[in-house]
């Protein structure tokens, strides 16, 4: 079975929010829209977003590191949000594993949002139905688009390629290889929700330098020869 998902590389995410704006733009004007924006230019703007980028600081100053953390529905393989829905509006697609909400059935009871430990669902303040990331279901299933464009809007927008998209059940897909070879992990594994989305950890590149790599042991050109000479023949005189 196919399980589409995102793999997010925290090592290269620079926190530019390009995925956030491109997600909002695509989805507010498409099938899942409109996504409300209240008071957008005021002091306290409010609105529905499928994807948000948060920032965490690791360590204590001055030994700190900044982690930008994009956050959206993880399309869990055991989605706890689905069985609690009283109307059946929340469902997981059998063919590709994407978790979706049928906006025509949702009664806006918010119960599913209680049953998602990740806070991935948001009730739209105007349409009063539950909304969440659809993995751009209208793009990725649109056969009229070219292969390159048949990806979620956030993936196409990311300037650092921090977002990979593919089938995590196919062992040879780009996402599976990335998870396998680069330490991909799931959020809050303790709940058994089996999130399909994975995150790739921050990685530091370190090189090790030995002291004798800085001082040459054999020194044919005497460049660092500290001996003081008083007219005797040197190696240079003999050599050439």
């Amino acid at each position: 079975m196919t399980q589409l998902a995102l793999v997010i590389d925290l090592n290269v995410c620079v926190g530019c929010h390009a995925c956030v704006t491109s997600c909002k733009e695509w989805n507010t004007s498409g099938w899942a829209g409109p996504m409300v924006d209240q008071n957008p230019y005021g002091a306290s703007p409010n609105g529905t977003f499928f994807n948000r980028v948060q920032t965490f600081e690791v360590g204590t100053f001055p030994d700190t590191e900044t982690v930008h953390f994009p956050k959206s529905c993880l399309h869990c393989e055991e989605p706890p949000c689905v069985p609690v829905c009283p109307t059946g509006a929340s469902y997981k697609r059998a063919d590709n594993g994407v978790v979706l909400v049928d906006y025509d059935k949702c009664i806006g009871c918010k119960y599913c949002s209680w049953a998602c430990p990740y806070g991935a669902r948001e009730l739209d303040a105007e349409q009063k139905v539950m909304k969440k990331c659809t993995l751009c279901i209208d793009r990725i299933t649109d056969a009229k688009l070219s292969e390159r464009d048949r990806k979620p809007a956030c993936v196409l927008a990311c300037p650092t390629s921090a977002r990979l998209f593919g089938d995590v059940h196919d062992p040879d897909s780009e996402v599976s290889v990335a998870i396998r070879e680069r330490g991909g992990y799931q959020l809050m594994p303790e709940w058994g929700t089996k999130p399909a989305n994975h995150y790739l950890p921050r990685q530091k590149t370190r090189i090790h330098i030995d002291p004798d790599e800085l001082t040459r042991v054999d020194n044919p050109l005497r460049k660092e020869d500290l001996t003081s000479y008083t007219g005797e023949e040197t190696l240079d005189d003999v050599a050439w």
Binding site: T48, R52, Y111
Partner: protein, 325 residues
Amino acid sequence: MHPAFSVIFLTTLIGAGQGLYLAMVTGQLYAVARFLPRQEEQFYAIGSLVALVLLVAGLAASFFHLGRPERAWRAAAKWKTSWLSREVIVLPLVMALVFAYGIAHLLDWTQPLFRVGQSLDVDVTLLLGLLGTVASFALYVCTAMVYAGVKFLEEWHTPLTVTNFIFFGAASGFMLAAAYSAYVGNPLVTFYGTWAAILTLVALGSRLAHLLRNARIKHKSTVQTAIGVRHTALTQRAQGATGGSFNTREFFHGGDSRLLVLIRYGFLILVFPVPILLIGAAYVTESSTLPILAFVIQFVGLMLERWSFFAEARHPQNLYYQSVA
């Protein structure tokens, strides 16, 4: 969690409604067993009507919780997996049975249908009463499981949530039955008052156990597992929204911790000692107003209790919203 008024009213009103109905049936059962004198049919009929009014008021309040109330009928679809769906089905069922029970008494359908053993005459009211009792208990369980069934809300995910809902509902219902008897000048006020006091004490035990359990709760998730970074010092610098979001509104009670403590002490006083003392005083002074006061005070206390129940619960998604948490 954010305590929504619609849900506070829904759970307290239907809890008391079911409790009052159970009190009526209990009264009838005692009369059948000849422990108590049988009351006029009207007594049971009006009692059931009041219970029905409470159930309808609770249902009405619940609509305010929905974003799309006009589609509420759809909520009956997924009863196989969703406790909310089960509650939505059982609530109207209870209402219908309470209504039928009241009507049967009002129309005097008390001719025995058959006889069990030597002397137990079974009539329509008794049958409806038994069915309604089963349905009422089922509704208590469904209502409670809507909360106790969400494993992420660890403060709620315990059988104590279910016992709380049952005993709080029953206590307030019997208290209301005592108030009702006092109002109409019926001698059953002592019987109902005694049961109300007993149920209130049992509810106190259940709620104290719940509070004790939650005071020592150790949450499964941490900010480390939430973002998957292994470090003891993790500080959130940005939450991904300037002016808050659904996540910062739905999952936080919005008050400060002093308010939480104040409301907790408030309900502990209003729900338990005050009504019991008032019922005791009513027994001594044979007052007809004190039981009514006892019910009203306990009901206000129960609304505070429900507020506190919501505010106590800390959802794991709050780990992503550190500056609100």
